[in-house]
Symmetry: D2
Subunit: 317 residues, 4 copies
Amino acid sequence: MQPNSIARVAAFCLMAVCALDVNAQGPCLTASKFGPTDQIGNVNHITPEKTLAASKLITKGKAYRLGIETNKDTPAYPPRTFAITIVQPGQTAGASLGPTKTTYNDDLINGWAGVGSQLDGLGHIGIDNLYYNCNRSVDFVVTDGLKKLGVENVPAIATRGVLLDMSGYFNSEIVKEGTAFNRVEIEGAMKRQGIKSIEKGDVVLFYTGWLKLIGKDNKRFGSAAPGLGRDGARYLASLGVAMVGSDTWSFEVVPFEKDAGVFEVHQILLPRNGIHILENINTEEMVKDQAWEFLFTLGPTRITGAVQAIVNPIAIK
Amino acid sequence: MQPNSIARVAAFCLMAVCALDVNAQGPCLTASKFGPTDQIGNVNHITPEKTLAASKLITKGKAYRLGIETNKDTPAYPPRTFAITIVQPGQTAGASLGPTKTTYNDDLINGWAGVGSQLDGLGHIGIDNLYYNCNRSVDFVVTDGLKKLGVENVPAIATRGVLLDMSGYFNSEIVKEGTAFNRVEIEGAMKRQGIKSIEKGDVVLFYTGWLKLIGKDNKRFGSAAPGLGRDGARYLASLGVAMVGSDTWSFEVVPFEKDAGVFEVHQILLPRNGIHILENINTEEMVKDQAWEFLFTLGPTRITGAVQAIVNPIAIK
Amino acid sequence: MQPNSIARVAAFCLMAVCALDVNAQGPCLTASKFGPTDQIGNVNHITPEKTLAASKLITKGKAYRLGIETNKDTPAYPPRTFAITIVQPGQTAGASLGPTKTTYNDDLINGWAGVGSQLDGLGHIGIDNLYYNCNRSVDFVVTDGLKKLGVENVPAIATRGVLLDMSGYFNSEIVKEGTAFNRVEIEGAMKRQGIKSIEKGDVVLFYTGWLKLIGKDNKRFGSAAPGLGRDGARYLASLGVAMVGSDTWSFEVVPFEKDAGVFEVHQILLPRNGIHILENINTEEMVKDQAWEFLFTLGPTRITGAVQAIVNPIAIK
Amino acid sequence: MQPNSIARVAAFCLMAVCALDVNAQGPCLTASKFGPTDQIGNVNHITPEKTLAASKLITKGKAYRLGIETNKDTPAYPPRTFAITIVQPGQTAGASLGPTKTTYNDDLINGWAGVGSQLDGLGHIGIDNLYYNCNRSVDFVVTDGLKKLGVENVPAIATRGVLLDMSGYFNSEIVKEGTAFNRVEIEGAMKRQGIKSIEKGDVVLFYTGWLKLIGKDNKRFGSAAPGLGRDGARYLASLGVAMVGSDTWSFEVVPFEKDAGVFEVHQILLPRNGIHILENINTEEMVKDQAWEFLFTLGPTRITGAVQAIVNPIAIK
């Protein structure tokens, strides 16, 4: 064998050894604290008691629509596209149906699920094809729908929501790209806002102002973002939060932190800790109202085998 | 001209006169009580006071997921189809991204919006191409998205929900197709269940057991259904409800009532009264728990220009 | 009734009378010379004798590929879009199939048929919803595929092709938009090129240089074009040609001629004369080679119920 | 390390060594005889001389349409689906365009390219992610279109076609599934039909009768097939044929021959020899006419970056 080839075999074997970390030693890297058949992760922490307590946070009855619009112009992670087509079946030449002249419009969607406000399901991100709770892609990923971890498994979400105003914390209308939120920043924001705790089963949302860039500087919008860092991810995981989200496309800080892997924060949250991620979540009005703690509700579209879902969560304060 | 032709012209002119009823006399047939620019209808009745009061209905903190699954096998009104495709961009030959070997799945949706649990937007049904609030299709219907009445306009929905157990009322596990619910049945069910009132801004849901047919008798499921009749629709409209829904594909009774138009109940609700309709809404568990009055929440996907949306409302009791 | 309304009824009735021209007098306006069940039009003129004679036009054996590329950047008539997605089913994590490690790519198409080089089928254009051979849209247009006139009916096309070099005729690298080709120009070009005749069953292609604009000035490309005028259309129809085509998006002259209807040339050709139209057909190399008369072959994709087809005809000289 | 793990590393390393056969020793396994930049394979053998000679095979002028229909009911290799949607943009309420009341239908395609009669491009099948002419998937496979080997590169195809009537050879209306065609059978069929040779640049088609199963026994149709075996593939490759095809979904024999890999015949033809494959090609009428040698023409749809194309080749005798 040529030296080049020997080196290649050696590298291959080394990778094999490293791969063992992912796949072969004892319980797998992504084993769930909720048992070997769990598919939903930390949303298991949302109990009726939790929901009931969260409903008491409602003081005004103001409901906030947290989703942005999804259409062909929504900036999206390449190569994602989106299109809707409106049709009027059977109504050519002005035809209508029946004595009361019923007419109707119908619609077709042709687009990627990851466009606009979205929920990353637990089947979205993996570590070398190992996904949440020891699911290897070869076992559950099928072209016409995930066999495990699909978004249709997500239960009704109604829990305490906590909004961290990073724009206020950094005193910047739009927090600069590359700004990482770690434990220090999270605790600092909580203190500034008078939020006493982040608890098990919470949904934690970050406000950065980043969505203001859509339609003004789509290039900047999609090329980087402020967001959670690895230390912050581990910290929130230690608190047992159910979901996290922000008003950016990436949720985590981009460019990634020094020495961080590609979307490593996603890896810490989704496969390693079963924490769902929400992106492009618009909390601007809530920040204006200083609605820091609230009832957060979400029913993601139950498309069987879906990796992600276009969402529009409702917060109530 | 031949006699046949003369008759045709006469008919044409007659239709023109009738058409005037729809289009030309005074305020149009579908003028909104909320003013000429309104696009959302009776959801305008959902005020913060209404939401706050509804939140007090939560006693246990139990959250119910009301959406059914949507996939290629979900029975749907022809010629609707649905498909999801899972892809792994850039990860051929076992490639992963970066030092932490990030891998990911992405998904594409190719399907009609009206498959599974759905919200009918105010752009869905018209009367001879006249839609809610005097919007004529020629003015707002464009192939790549409605210019008015799109589902993206629907505000955050958090309001009092009322569940009418028609299965219990008729003492039938699955209420028979063709059974119409009108004022008598509505009031009868309320009385049976101890529901004192239906109020302005409520979301009224009907349970019939019809969803049990999916997977057992799809043909029967999709060919008919029990549901609201015209008198019932006018009654609920008089009460100012925000939305109505049921666990059938059609919401309204099919076959239609004697002398009724095609989906005439839809016409009474959507264009004439600005009341949104929800279909295939699964309230089976709520009926078991006798959760008759509750907080109903819904954030429909904000796809710009959409006629309908696949939904998964969350009810909390 | 108000004066305004009376005027409207009057107008309605007038339109009804005009409408009679389309629908009610004797044989309909678009009745086919090939009988009441014909769905393919003048391609009926392509007989084996015609094909055999055309094959004798081959002198060099040079085969020309007349289709341009179709992709998401191809300028197209709004709101048409096009996307292709490449997938590798079942091959996550570097998996392959079997002992010889078979791997494969597959592809999905999500796009409008009318993007790139296309064939307009006889179901594409109508006159007030009356299509070729008395087919009214209400009778044959269904949302999931035309019941008549679909492109799947087109027989194998192998016939004499005639290429008219309008760029040479007008001595202009790119013929100016709005330049109409009528009988004078057609005969003039034939004379200049030494083409003795245009015959029944021929496919007549026009070269204008218009395709050179793609990628350089897509806006100009799609906003106008040189092309056939009404007189030219009637002239070619009188000669019994099977198909016509050009290297523009519209085939016919845009802006339309004075007093012409919208795409009226299409109406003269498709519904009135059963002559198929080809658009964005690239004959640049043939013009360089002065390949004026040749064997033209085309097998349009046989998608059932299709209105149009993306094509790539082969010419052989 | 546990014994199990050691075994796994060992296996991993062994695979790495085997993998070297594909990737690292000398010129790669799939290097093209046409040079390192070639993307089209043996169609390079189709010269003008070849085309001219093939045109002389036309004696009657009869043109055959070899494509079958593609629609949602066409049996296809899972999970492929296909749908077409017909729309009438801007024509709600009977609207038409302009003084001549132009109306039109448009169509959208949402489906996999590999449905119906298809051409497998050189980017379709690989050996452990190594494709034709040393193209590794990581280098050319991108989610929104292949960067190399896309079907848009295929030149105009006009060459000698040879039809082998295997149904006649085996004296069976439908040749049994699992029947392999190798050199003996190929030469036997040629002898029986009086075909003297198969030459460089030919397109060789096999007729088996298999398409008769569509609509009668789709399950049998798609579960197996008669077809080319490995020896036959190597034989045809040695003759330098440009393309091969048959009237089955798989082209090659299924079940695969003893000890054969998964679609190994595809691997011999596409990546190893640059020979395109055609599937579901309907030559039934040609067999009736005993049209054994003919002009074969094909212009595959030039969708940029496509792996496959739905085709409708035209044969002329």
